[in-house]
Symmetry: C2
Subunit: 303 residues, 2 copies
């Protein structure tokens, strides 16, 4: 390692190659950015429960396995009662639980103590289940626009949020998983819209159990997909994907469905978590989903 | 140009090489990011008026020319009365005015109409002078923490800010210059702390006369210098630099003064504006400033 490589690695701050697929493993962000080095990232595709066709988990997982989809993102609602069901359905398959999509009651920035208490209780129950399932983390939004009364948007609230997230992150870490902050677009949540912002909150929460993510749909807020993912650095734990015009399935918005710039960042950063479908579908899923998976693989290759 | 290069260029959205050094020229952001292509960026160093030793502009400019410093960033206060003085002092030299550092009265997010009016009037006077001097733009902060009463931090205020910036940007453009949004750290301004945020505001202002910048000191807010600059994309118009421990002169905080990760982004983006010193100095300026300029050149080379 020469001086230039050393400087790059130390600044990126996480030049440790993950030894396994543990949800808490450190991603090798930064080290692959040294020009001339082989990119370390890999495209692990995940589907939410509603994505694949099929009436049962078994049918859905059969479909996913045929496409080489290796991640499953269930909703968090009632997850505690479904741990055994999901474990059984995944048994013997090349599919793992990726992230858990929200599902809690209340919200963390609620002014009303009862609403905050509902969040704390239900979120911890989901984290318990996420840990049992080996999930990479539980996705959360600090406050949707519709969630009021909400604490005011100032430094005091940000400090409070980071302190609360620290506790939550330590709880998640103790259960072998994480909490994942998701920035949304302004129509859904003004509070946290940029990946860089979510990453800075994760850093200030000061717990290895607090991470962030990027969603190609919500990233319409960003000036640069490439810059956004790099801004997440070592905190990047999950990615959502959808078509970029109407939030349908990739390929359904034609030329708009270009993920190459973002994928290039993920490859260079050595991202090894999941890229998970969170989207609707206009056409026949049996036709559109295979085309979407192929599009992602082609663009990953091009990136 | 093969398909992969085409995809990169179109996503970055600004693969046009600037034909000249016009303050409004489009920077060739993105095109240089294609691996294997020569980086287009260049390190143009600038000093604020207080940086160089010397009693007169002539003495300061003599010092700067010896170091190959080609940019001069004056304060905006009273700039209208100094246009001829500055033009005369720069005549025949290889130094141009870079950005103008603030200097206006009031602030753009003031609740009090009289304070907003003071901003509008004084800012436009500085823009007039900036245009006459061929400056790359006038730096502004939407609201310092100490500036109260300030409009609340919500979507309505952001929309108002973008609308106001649109008018200001069009005014600046008509005068051959720009306004440059500067994110600060939380101790100085909670309102806008991340380069990605400033860039998104610049985009939403929808005027070629609205740009943004990054300041290596304030970028302590960022998780990644590299990601932050890339997040600015084509809106990046200026960069401030200081030592990274105490905001003194680069080199004065030793190992902390590492700019390689950020410089790598600037090189890859084809950044061709200025990197300007905004910092104090503990030691003898005649010794420290040449060392600082050399450090920047060395790290730019390493990046």
């Amino acid at each position: 390692m020469d001086r230039r490589q050393f400087l790059h690695s130390s600044i990126a701050g996480a030049a440790v190659v993950a030894a396994g697929a543990s949800p808490l493993a450190v991603t090798a962000c930064g080290s692959a950015a040294d020009k001339g080095k082989k990119a370390l990232g890999q495209l692990n595709i995940s589907f939410q429960e509603g994505t694949a066709p099929g009436k049962s988990l078994a049918e859905k997982f059969d479909f996913m396995e045929k496409l080489g989809v290796t991640g499953f993102e269930p909703g968090g609602k009632g997850l505690g009662d479904r741990v055994q069901e999901i474990k059984d359905a995944l048994s013997g398959r090349n599919i793992k639980v990726s992230a858990i999509c929200a599902g809690f009651d209340g919200f963390i920035l609620a002014e009303d103590p009862a609403v905050k208490e509902a969040f704390d209780t239900s979120m911890r129950r989901i984290i318990d289940a996420a840990g049992e399932l080996g999930s990479t983390g539980v996705i959360m939004v600090p406050a949707f626009n519709r969630q009021v009364p909400c604490k005011p948007h100032n430094q005091e609230t940000r400090d409070y949020l980071c302190a609360q997230l620290h506790e939550l992150g330590e709880y998640a870490k103790a259960h072998g998983t994480t909490v994942i902050l998701e920035p949304l677009n302004r129509k859904e949540a003004f509070y946290m819209r940029l990946v860089a912002d979510a990453a800075a909150i994760a850093r200030d929460a000061d717990s290895d159990g607090v991470k962030c993510m990027g969603d190609f749909w919500h990233m319409q807020e960003e000036v640069s997909d490439y810059g956004a993912f790099w801004s997440a650095g070592k905190y990047l734990q999950h990615v959502h994907i959808a078509s970029r015009g109407r939030r349908k399935t990739p390929t359904e918005d034609g030329e708009l469905d270009n993920y190459v710039d973002g994928f290039r960042a993920l490859k260079e950063m050595g991202y090894d978590k999941y890229v998970s479908f969170e989207c609707g579908c206009v056409g026949d899923k049996n036709v559109v989903l295979p085309a979407a998976v192929q599009l992602l693989r082609d663009q990953w290759e091009q990136a």
